[in-house]
């Protein structure tokens, strides 16, 4: 008995249909694993980074190098011990093409350690611990944000120029806070300047007792690092305690994305950062407009860093026509990208960290207005990086 011709045709076409996925493997979706905090004191930071990243890829028709994109997003809960299994799941089980995250520096160091082994191309959209592009640097690790050094070292000069000799440094006592303090102390203490160290437990936002101590110490100025929910509380309490009128407050991150919630308590605070919403360039205007339309929220540096992470992916994947298999070529493409960022165009250093301008800003009526440049084209020294 022979098989009837039309029947055999059906069988062949079914077999061919089944094989299609194998022939089109390269046209499969690009998998992006995202590990960011969506709960806790940094929840807003994580959400802004994710939304802006997706917005940038959306503007590229939801494709990277012509391939569709699939996101696998995980809440980091800012839990460092749990991050190992979460990163391993994204890298080993989901086999993501790109890993994006985190916000928290402790998790960032852990991530760098893990992906250095796995070789997964990783983009850090916030965590500023120096080591990530320092001792832990690797060809497959990029950062679109900053190092703690970049955002603390220039402040030393700014405050010395303002004539301050005795400064209290207050910060959340975790990796990033400690590195901020170290870099600031290094640049501020040129001759007889003194830095008084007040670390506070992360992520607690109860500052009243420290302010009592500051009043007793009566320094020339205070330099503070807090972010997210804790920063709102810090600024309000600082004003309520009466210190604001007596001791000038300098900061990094303190008023970023939080100035509205802080209200008039934030007026007059001087800060340094690698961005300000009132920067006048086309990329910034475009992001401000589209981000507001998509999320209803105002742009802050975290959204910018998420957006630039998107740009890095879009531009590099275009250059290699969506080929994620040849990693070396893809990494080379990423290294040579000039990101048209809302903070102004930037390139990557040898250690894969942005070379960028640090602005000096002052808060008035809920906006961080640029009042100068703290340092131009700052490149992190990338201490300990061998690549």
């Amino acid at each position: 008995m022979s098989i009837q011709p039309h029947k055999s045709r059906t069988i062949i076409s079914i077999v061919l249909l089944c094989l299609i996925p194998f022939f089109t493997a390269n046209a499969a979706k690009v998998k992006i694993g995202i590990l960011l905090p969506y709960t806790g004191t940094y929840a807003k930071l994580g959400t802004h980074i994710r939304d802006a990243l997706m917005l940038r890829i959306e503007q590229n028709k939801n494709t990277l190098g012509g391939r569709e994109v699939e996101y696998i997003s995980v809440d980091s809960e800012m839990n460092v011990p749990k991050s190992t299994s979460r990163i391993n799941k994204l890298v080993k089980k989901d086999k993501v093409d790109f890993l994006v995250g985190p916000v928290h520096s402790g998790i960032g160091i852990n991530m760098a350690r893990l992906v250095k082994k796995s070789g997964t191309i990783t983009i850090v959209p916030n965590a500023g611990a120096n080591q990530i592009t320092g001792t832990h640097c690797a060809p497959n690790i990029f950062r679109t944000s900053f190092t703690s050094w970049q955002l603390a070292y220039p402040m030393g000069g700014v405050m010395r120029k303002a004539g301050h000799k005795r400064v209290v440094m207050m910060y959340w006592n975790y990796t990033f806070g400690r590195q901020t303090k170290a870099a600031f102390a290094e640049s501020f203490s040129a001759s007889n300047e003194e830095v008084i160290d007040i670390p506070t437990p992360f992520p607690k936002a109860e500052f009243q007792s420290y302010f009592t101590k500051i009043a007793t110490l009566h320094p020339d100025a205070v330099f503070a690092f807090y972010s997210g929910g804790g920063a709102v509380q810090f600024v309000k309490d600082y004003a309520a305690s009466g210190l604001k009128d007596a001791i000038p407050l300098y900061s990094t991150f303190l008023t970023e994305g939080t100035a509205k919630a802080q209200g008039s308590a934030a007026d007059g605070i001087v800060s340094i950062l690698h961005y300000s919403r009132d920067l006048d360039n086309e990329a910034n205007q475009r992001l401000k407009r589209t981000f507001k339309a998509k999320t209803g929220e105002d742009v802050d540096i975290f959204a910018v860093q998420g957006y630039d992470t998107g740009s890095l992916l879009v531009q590099a994947m275009d250059a290699v026509a969506g080929d994620t298999f040849h990693k070396k070529a893809l990494i080379q493409a990423m290294e040579s990208v000039v990101i048209d960022s809302p903070r102004g165009p930037f390139t990557f250093s040898k250690a894969h960290n942005p070379i960028q301008t640090i602005y000096l800003r002052q808060t008035t009526k809920g906006e961080n207005k640029i009042i100068g440049v703290a340092a131009k084209n700052v490149e992190d020294p990338a201490t300990g990086c061998q690549m």
Binding site: A205, G229, A240
Partner: protein, 296 residues
């Protein structure tokens, strides 16, 4: 010069004392509910911190709706009593005869449910609450430092509540039943007192106390996701130091923890995070049943 420095130091310790007892009073409100529920009903309520968070969010929400913090709080209190009653009737009342493990599982699940509800209802943003005009001022203490009036207001409210609790427990029939229930639950039942109703009342009161602490704290700590978890752990420490089931113990324990925490943070910053737990260890070595607990 030296003299003025000394005065400065004295004022430093005095203001830190104010900070310490104010923090302690707030802890007392949370720990009182915890110790009552644990001591009388025998329930380990991990979700107690969630009620603190719910209180803060309700205060935030109702303050924005009504435009006045005090009205917001006044409206939120009956709501939290209702939530407490509902939760007790639908879940806890079914677990009284079960072991602690079941209760821990249930209350842990409640934490997750409340956290998720909070995310759905209010999102993951942090919110500040403005206090009414007459409380938003500050009292000048030294030449550069002032003390926010609202913090004094918190302390005053807590003292009033502590006295009210003392009066209810020592002088009223309900208090008599609570005390009897704490020392011998079976006997109370045999004597014909409706334990079911008693438990529902105690639980609702405990929830309302934690929620009220959250409402009062909201303007000074901000309102944010996960704010209940920190307070939960420290409240357990207070309850254990004071002796499980003892309101007096919770009061003394809360003040001790508040003062140790505040002085520790400013005088020994390196040890700040362990001092409170060290205090607990010392107390437990000395009196395993807690300061005012009765030996099992």
């Amino acid at each position: 010069m030296i003299f003025s420095k000394k005065i400065m130091d004295a004022s430093f310790y005095l203001i830190q004392f104010l900070n310490g007892i104010q923090y302690g009073f707030l802890l007392f409100l949370v720990a009182a509910g915890l110790t009552l529920v644990f001591g009388i009903m025998g329930i380990i309520n991990l979700a107690h911190g969630s009620f603190y968070m719910i209180g803060a969010y309700l205060a935030f929400w109702l303050t924005n709706l009504t435009g006045n913090f005090l009205i917001g709080v006044a409206l939120a209190i009956p709501v939290t009593i209702g939530i407490g009653y509902l939760v007790e009737r639908t879940t806890f009342s079914r677990l009284y005869s079960r072991g602690h493990l079941h209760q821990v599982l249930l209350t842990y699940a409640l934490i997750l449910i409340f956290d998720e509800l909070q995310l759905i209802l209010w999102g993951n943003d942090f919110h500040g609450i403005d206090v009414p005009e007459f409380l938003s001022g500050a009292i000048q203490l030294t030449d550069i430092l002032s003390y926010p009036t609202y913090r004094l207001f918190i302390s005053a409210i807590c003292i009033v509540l502590a006295f009210m609790m003392y009066w209810v427990i020592q002088k009223t029939k309900l208090g008599m039943m609570i005390r009897a229930g704490a020392s011998n639950r079976e006997m109370v039942q045999i004597l014909g007192i409706d334990v079911q109703r008693l438990f529902a009342i105690i639980f609702s009161l405990g929830v309302a106390l934690a929620a009220l602490a959250g409402m009062l704290a909201a303007p000074v700590t901000s309102v944010y996701p996960g704010m209940g978890e920190n307070i939960l752990i420290i409240s357990f420490v207070v309850a254990v130091i004071g002796g499980i089931g003892s309101i007096k113990g919770a009061f003394v324990g809360a003040l001790l923890v508040g003062l140790v925490d505040i002085y520790g943070k400013t005088l020994f910053p390196e040890l700040a995070s362990i001092l409170v737990y060290a205090l607990m260890v010392v107390v437990l070595l000395w009196r395993p049943q807690g300061l005012f607990g009765t030996a099992a």
